[in-house]
């Protein structure tokens, strides 16, 4: 085992930190950017492209950066620390990996350069209102028509779906609503006839959209991967995304913990820094322990995200998500508590981290969901 970063990885981390770290230091600036379409900084997005971050998961032969889960982890940690608003998760992690792992060579050739240079943003239109966390609960239907398909259905919470130029849509080409078989991925222009989008702000200052597809015609070549066979790919990419948001959570939680320590040392009540109260010292220690436990599972998730043995990957990722959720909740709540009143306001950074951590908990499966998934896989220790 080796927990050391390579020189290249260290270089990546430092340059990402320099770019994203200070970008949203000023909360008023962050609020202004979030309030104006597209809800993130196009300027900063162009700089992500310059650094090669948007090409990260793609192979070098097709113009990519050839990065793996560790590189993604380093970028996502910086995004977490920086409270960044750019649609990296939606475009690069979710859609980028769907394309990398599912698309044909011709499709990749058309898409990868445009993603890499920042001109193409994508959103994964998957979650439906009835589905909760079930990845295979897809009611959107793709009916065969001539040589192509017609899409019909509604997607509920599509991250950055309001500004994306293209959507990767999951639709059922056969089977019943919760059948793991029979799901197909389609690449659809966001402004294609029949697509209607209603954007909204999210609780953590990002963007989402409810998107409906009313008789949207697509060609056969719009399908990514095999028709009816997208199930395993969707699950794999969801696991990759969980490893990514685990890293984002650790980045955010570490920054929040540091902020709290600072506050404990500087805020005075009863004539002394509140950090001199032993109960708060112990709380800070418990937060630190929770952070380190989360960090360990962040690494474990990064290690297992590329695992080809699907059951092993599933168990590892679910275990990681449970730990991340637990640590994120504890650190978020306690950071707010230790700040007192200032912790529950929008005028101070701690609350923004707390909100983002809360939404990460809600994303791609909450704790009960992942405990069930881990249990279904049998856990990973045998009985004595």
């Amino acid at each position: 085992m080796n927990f050391e970063l390579t020189d290249e990885q260290r270089l990546l981390r430092d340059s990402v930190d320099r770019l994203i770290g200070p970008a949203y230091d000023d909360l008023a600036h962050r609020r202004r950017i979030a309030a104006e379409p597209p809800g993130y900084s196009r300027e900063l997005w162009a700089k992500y492209a310059e650094l090669g971050l948007l090409a990260l998961p793609f192979s070098e032969e097709e113009g990519g950066f050839g990065g793996g889960p560790v590189e993604t982890m380093l970028v996502m940690e910086a995004i977490g620390r920086g409270l960044a608003l750019e649609p990296y998760l939606a475009t690069v992690v979710l859609c980028g990996n769907l394309i990398r792992l599912g698309a044909s060579a011709a499709q990749r050739e058309a898409l990868v350069p445009a993603i890499a240079d920042g001109s193409l943003t994508l959103a994964f239109a998957h979650l439906e209102r009835q589905a909760r966390y079930d990845l295979f609960d897809v009611g959107t239907y793709a009916r065969r028509q001539g040589s192509g398909f017609v899409l019909e259905g509604e997607k509920s919470v599509v991250l950055y779906g309001d500004s994306a130029t293209k959507l990767i849509v999951t639709a059922r080409t056969e089977g019943s609503r919760r059948d793991p078989q029979g799901i197909t991925l389609f690449l659809v222009d966001a402004d294609a006839p029949g697509v209607s989008r209603r954007g909204f702000a999210t609780q953590d200052g990002q963007r989402g959209a409810a998107i409906s597809f009313g008789s949207v015609a697509v060609t056969e070549s719009a399908a990514i991967g095999t028709v009816g066979g997208a199930g395993p790919l969707i699950e794999q990419v969801a696991d990759i995304a969980i490893a990514a948001i685990a890293a984002e959570a650790v980045g955010a939680a570490a920054a929040l913990h540091a902020l709290t320590l600072d506050y404990l040392k500087t805020r005075k009540q009863f004539g002394v820094p509140i950090g001199s109260f032993q109960v708060l010292q112990h709380r800070a220690v418990d937060m630190f322990t929770a952070l380190e436990q989360a960090r360990s599972m962040e690494y474990y998730a990064a290690m297992m995200a590329a695992e080809t043995d699907a059951p092993a990957r599933r168990s590892a990722i679910s275990a990681a998500k449970v730990q991340i959720n637990k640590s994120a909740r504890f650190i978020g709540q306690q950071a707010v508590q230790l700040h007192g009143g200032i912790g529950v306001t929008m005028e101070y950074r701690a609350g923004h981290y707390f909100k983002r951590l809360t939404m990460i908990e809600q994303a791609f499966g909450d704790t009960p969901y992942h405990l069930r998934r881990l249990d279904a896989g049998g856990g990973w220790l045998d009985a004595a």
């Binding site: 909760r132 919470v157 919760r178 999210t202 109960v279 708060l280 508590q337 009143g341 529950v344 005028e347």
Partner: protein
């Protein structure tokens, strides 16, 4: 020992419940049940209805419009108000400053201020905390200096709840900076907020709402009779007030109402082939909170029973009510967040009339968008009214003798 309600108490409860359901507008009660924004006018409407029936200030002496109720009846009333989603009569008026004026005020102050306080013609806010004086309230710096027959106030208050709706503020200010102990040089003032020199700046909370404010005092001249109680002895009033604030802070009825709603929503939220309520683990998590709440209710009843009539210092065990009450309220918001799941993500302006339905579930619920904001907002319950750490300090010292 008989832990059941008497027949009279049951009749009393039913009478209150019927009254509230028949007289308080349903639209307001629904908004409260759904965790939505309630406007100033709504509070005023409800309190005036209650006051017209002598139900706004039952804890006050009969001579000032109160009721000659037993502690148990008072408890039942408060519980019915909360669990039927009626806004509490404004605590700043009814539970805080009203009793202070009654206990410490002059006859003239009572005559002038109590009737409009009961009727919410005066909306009070609480000017205690300052940027540098939160848990350590006695370190407050706002100054009041005597000048002829007036007081001149300078300084800043913060976290002042609903100051934007208030027309009067009760505040603590330092009148004797030379006193031996910080607590000894403080006085308690009643100030009309239209007095020149007062400015209110909003602070946005995590749910996006406007609930608290900073209040600045720049050479604010108030008449001599703005002082209540004895000069420099304002801390006595403050302690008396904070003890009342704490004993009302368990909010059992509110948690009951929230848990009922959680049950209803979980039954309506699709999960797998059925609803979330079909999930045994989820039901057990709800039951765990319900058990905690039942225990808290019994604890609250024990505290009430142990309170001697007319005592000015409530049982220090009331700190338990604050700690558990806030933890249970927070637990209910965690359950609601779990129900909302990924649909908690969309944000709507909490003060907007009604969300646009972007997040409606197939059954037509527009509720999921309040789950996260309420969860964020309720973190305040373990911070205000004396933080839970401070409450633990009180119990350790006053109850356990440590």
């Amino acid at each position: 020992m008989d832990l059941r309600l008497t027949r009279e108490e049951i009749a009393f409860r039913d009478e209150i419940r019927t009254f509230l359901c028949e007289n308080i507008p349903e639209a307001i009660r629904n908004r409260i049940a759904e965790g939505r924004h309630v406007g100033r006018e709504d509070y005023v409407t409800c309190q005036r209805i209650l006051n017209a029936h002598k139900l706004a200030t039952p804890n006050w002496p009969v001579a000032w419009g109160g009721r000659d109720w037993t502690p148990m009846q008072r408890y039942i009333f408060g519980e019915e108000v909360q669990s039927n989603n009626v806004p509490d009569p404004l605590p700043f008026n009814v539970a805080m400053v009203g009793p202070v004026i009654i206990a410490f005020g002059t006859e003239a102050q009572k005559q002038r201020l109590l009737p409009p306080t009961a009727n919410l013609d005066i909306w009070w806010c609480q000017g205690f905390s300052e940027p540098g004086a939160g848990s350590d309230l006695a370190s407050l710096k706002t100054r009041a200096v005597r000048d002829g027959d007036a007081w001149v106030i300078n300084g800043q208050k913060t976290w002042t709840t609903m100051a934007q709706w208030a027309n009067w503020i009760f505040l603590l200010a330092r009148t004797n900076p030379e006193a031996r102990k910080p607590q000894e040089g403080i006085s308690f003032f009643l100030v009309d907020m239209s007095t020149p020199g007062i400015t209110v700046r909003p602070i946005q909370l995590l749910d996006g709402g406007h609930e608290v404010n900073e209040v600045f005092f720049d050479n604010v001249r108030v008449p001599a009779d703005a002082l209540v109680g004895t000069e420099h002895r304002g801390w006595d009033c403050a302690k008396f007030l904070l003890a009342n604030e704490r004993s009302n802070i368990a909010r059992v009825g509110i948690s009951k109402s929230r848990l009922r709603r959680i049950r209803a929503l979980a039954r309506a939220v699709p999960a797998g082939d059925g609803s979330l309520w079909d999930d045994e683990d989820f039901r057990h998590r709800v039951l765990q909170v319900e058990i905690d709440l039942k225990a808290l209710e019994m604890t609250q009843l024990r505290v009430i029973a142990s309170e001697r009539e007319g005592s000015r210092t409530p049982n220090p065990a009331s700190s338990i009510l604050k700690i558990k009450g806030s933890e249970i309220q927070q637990a209910t918001t965690e359950l609601a967040l779990e129900i909302a799941g990924p649909f908690a993500l969309p944000y709507h302006d909490p003060e907007a009339e009604y969300p646009d339905g972007a997040n409606d579930l197939p059954e037509g619920f527009g509720w999921a968008d309040t789950a996260a904001p309420t969860y964020f907002n309720y973190r305040k319950t373990s911070i205000y009214g004396g933080s839970n750490e401070i409450q633990r300090n009180i119990i350790a010292k006053m109850v356990l003798g440590l």
